[in-house]
Symmetry: C2
Subunit: 113 residues, 2 copies
């Protein structure tokens, strides 16, 4: 469940064929992004002043129960997209710097295809 090192130095998806191991690790992250609620959570966290949001804020943005939001946060955390920090009673989530950028670079298509 460790959050992928494969993204560290990978060439774009379209440059050379992925092997089974690479594709499995990368797919984990995209699978985490493949849910509307999780996308909105990421968006909420990222767009927030200071780049972080507490669970209560996130929960308020949805018509979902708190355990469900907690589940989605765990998924995002397990693939290395979010980190959490407890401050007093509240837990704050923020983007892991670099993860989204590396995904972005992975999808980037060289000029001529």
């Amino acid at each position: 469940m460790e959050p992928l090192q494969i993204l560290e130095c990978g060439p774009p998806l379209v440059r050379e064929e992925l092997d089974a191991v690479q594709s499995a690790e990368i797919a984990r992250v995209f699978k985490a992004l493949g849910d509307p609620v999780r996308l909105r959570i990421l968006s909420i966290v990222a767009a927030r002043q200071g780049g972080e949001a507490c669970v209560c804020d996130i929960t308020d943005a949805f018509d979902l129960t708190q355990p469900t939001i907690s589940h989605h946060l765990k998924v995002l955390k397990d693939v290395g997209l979010l980190t959490s920090e407890r401050r007093g009673i509240w837990v704050h989530y923020r983007l892991v710097p670099g993860t989204l950028s590396r995904l972005s670079a992975l999808l980037d298509v060289p000029a001529t295809v």
Copy 2:
């Protein structure tokens, strides 16, 4: 099942909060990317000379049955990542230009986060 216009002009994910409709459409594409086999298929198609591959070539690259590959190709086609063209007996798949780039831009994080 029409392949998303939402990606046409969207700001980065991290710039402003997504609403439910936007996140649902974008999540469809990421969900399609969230499978190792489909990632490898994309990679094979994109890395191929000429930017296209026929189904037979793709099928040969996996230990999966031909109907399973056909299923994955349909998923990628339905979200607007691939197009297909029949030439004689063979069907050739290629990337839809721009779709990956727009996804990449969506994930791109402004300098300061």
